[in-house]
Amino acid sequence: GLFVWRLKGAGTRHLPCHLLHLCRAPKGRLITFQYFNFLKRMYVTQYNKDLSQRAKPKADPVVSPFHELLDQEKKVIHKISPVSPVHQPWPETSRRNELRHVKSPAESEASAAAVRAEPREDRQWKEMKLRLDELPGILARLSKIKLTALVVSTASAGFAMAPVPFDLPCFLLASLGTGLASCAANSINQFFEVPFDSNMNRTKNRPLVRGQISPLLAVCFAASCGVPGIALLTLGVNPLTGALGAFNIFLYTCCYTPMKRMSIANTWVGAVVGAIPPVMGWTAATGSLDAGALLLGGILYSWQFPHFNALSWGLREDYSRGGYCMMSVTHPGLCRRVALRHCLALIGLSVVAPVLDVTTWTFPVISLPINLYISYLGFRFYRDADRSSSRKLFFCSLWHLPMLLLVMFTCKKSVLDKEDKGDLLGKGESHGRAMEMRLP
C-alpha cells in the first residue's frame, strides 16, 4: 500500500493504468506486478541500448563504450556506449543489423515509452531480491551475451578456415566451450569493475551496478560457466584449445582488467585477448598451432586497434574521470598512429594469407577495397583527430571484420585442391622416374 502511494506521488503517467491492476491484485502481488511492468520496459530499453556493444575480447576492452553525451546524439551514442572498452576479440558484426531488424514501429514506440519510463524507474528504491523471471536477462547482461556471440563467431571463423575436413560435433563443442569461457571472463570482469562501471555512462546500467544480482552469485555463475567450458574444450576438443581458453580467461580477467587502470599497455594485452579465439577455433579443428592460426590471430589482433582506438576517442572524459589509462587520454598522437599502422598491417596480413596456403590469391585482391577503405578512414582519423573521423572509423571497423572473414572463407584454399595437387605432383614424379628408368 505504502509503496503504491509513493509511486503515485512520483506522478508518473504510466502508473495510473497499472495502479488499477495493482489495486485489484492481492496485496502480496502488488509489488511484483509493478516491477514486472517496469522490468518489461526496462528490458526493451536495455535491448535497444545494448545493441551497440562492442566486441570485447573475451574480457572485453571494454571496452568501452562511453562518451560525452548530448541529448540529440543519445540514440547514436548508445551505439558506441555499450561497447566495452576492452579489446574484445569478438567482432561486432551483427550488432547494427540487429538494431535495424529490431526497430519495428511497434517496438520503437515501446522503446520510446521505455526510455521515458527508464529514468523515472531509475530514481526509485528497489528491493535487492533475486527474481527468477529476471534471471535470464540479468545473466545475459552479466556475461555480455552479444559480445560473447561475436567472440564465438570469430572462433568459428578460425575453425572454418582450418585446412581440414569439417567436423560438425567438434565444431559445436568448440563453439560451446568458447562461449562458456567468454561468459565466465565477462562476468568476472564486471565483478571487478563495479564502482568504475557506475561512474561511466556506457556501463552504468550493468546488473552488478544496479544491484540486481549479488557479487557472490556473479562469481558462482562465472565459475559454473568457466569450469565446464574449459573442461569441454580440454576433454571434448583437445588440450591445446582448452589451455588457450583458460589462458585467455586469465589474460582478460587478471591482466587486462587491472591493467586498464595502471598503464596504456592494456590495449595491447586486450588485442591479444581478442586474437586468441580464432586461434582456438583453428586448433580445435587441426589440433596444432600452425602458421595459419597465427595469421588469423594476427588479423584479429590488428583489427582491435582501429576498432578500440576510434571508440576510445569519444570517451576521453569518462576515462579520465574514471581513472582509466588509455592511449586516447594520455598519448593521443600514439593512439592515432597505432590505429593507422594496424589498418595498413591488415593489408599486409591479407597478402600473407595466400603465401601460407590459407587462401587463394584472389583473397588479397578482393579484400583490397575494404582494407584500403578502412586504411583511408584510419588516415583521416590520424590527420583530423576529431569526433567525426573517429566515429567513422569505429563504425567501419564493425562491418569490416565480418566482411573480411567472409571473403577469407570464400577464398579459402580448398583441402581437395591441395590433395589433388599433391597427387599430381606424386604422379608426375613417378612418371618422370619411370621415364628416366627407360631412358638409359
Binding site: W125, E127, N199, P215, Y324
Partner: protein, 146 residues
C-alpha cells in the same frame, strides 16, 4: 524502503558519487558472521562513496577552472553574447583530461588495491554466510523429515 521488508534495498545513483546506496536489512537473529558481512559492506559503501564523491567534485571543479582559465587566455567570457555557456572543444579539453588522469594516478592505484581487497573479502564472507545458511536449512529439513 517499507518497514516489513526482509531484504536489502538499493537506491538511485548518488548525485556526486554515481554509486547506488544500499540500505541493509538487519535480521533480528543476526549471527556474528552475518554482522561481519554487513559491516564490511557498509564500510566499503561508505569508503567508496567518500572517494568518488570527492573525486567527481574535484573533477568538476578543476574542469570549470580549466575552462575559465583557457577562455580568459583567449579573451572570452564564460558566457557569450546570447547568454550561452561557452565551452571548449574536445581537443582543448584533451589537455585537461590528460593532466587530470596523471595527477590522480597514485590516488587511483591506492583505491584500486583497497577496492579489490574489500571486494574479495565481502564476496568471501557472502560465500561463508550462504554456506552456513544452506547447512542450517539442510539440518532443519532433516529434522522435519524425522
Amino acid at each position: 524502503p517499507p518497514a516489513h521488508s526482509h531484504s536489502d534495498w538499493i537506491g538511485p545513483p548518488d548525485k556526486h558519487s554515481n554509486l547506488r546506496p544500499v540500505i541493509f536489512y538487519v535480521p533480528p537473529e543476526e549471527s556474528p558472521l552475518e554482522r561481519r558481512l554487513r559491516e564490511a559492506r557498509q564500510e566499503a559503501q561508505a569508503c567508496n562513496q567518500r572517494f568518488w564523491a570527492r573525486h567527481n567534485c574535484a573533477f568538476r571543479q578543476e574542469k570549470e577552472e580549466f575552462i575559465y582559465s583557457r577562455l580568459k587566455a583567449k579573451g572570452l567570457e564564460m558566457r557569450d553574447g546570447t547568454g550561452q555557456k561557452a565551452t571548449l572543444n574536445a581537443e582543448e579539453m584533451a589537455d585537461f583530461y590528460k593532466d587530470f588522469l596523471s595527477k590522480n594516478f597514485r590516488k587511483h592505484m591506492q583505491y584500486n588495491r583497497d577496492w579489490y581487497k574489500r571486494n574479495f573479502t565481502i564476496t568471501f564472507l557472502m560465500g561463508q554466510v550462504a554456506l552456513v545458511r544452506a547447512l542450517r536449512w539442510l539440518r532443519w529439513k532433516k529434522k522435519n523429515l524425522e
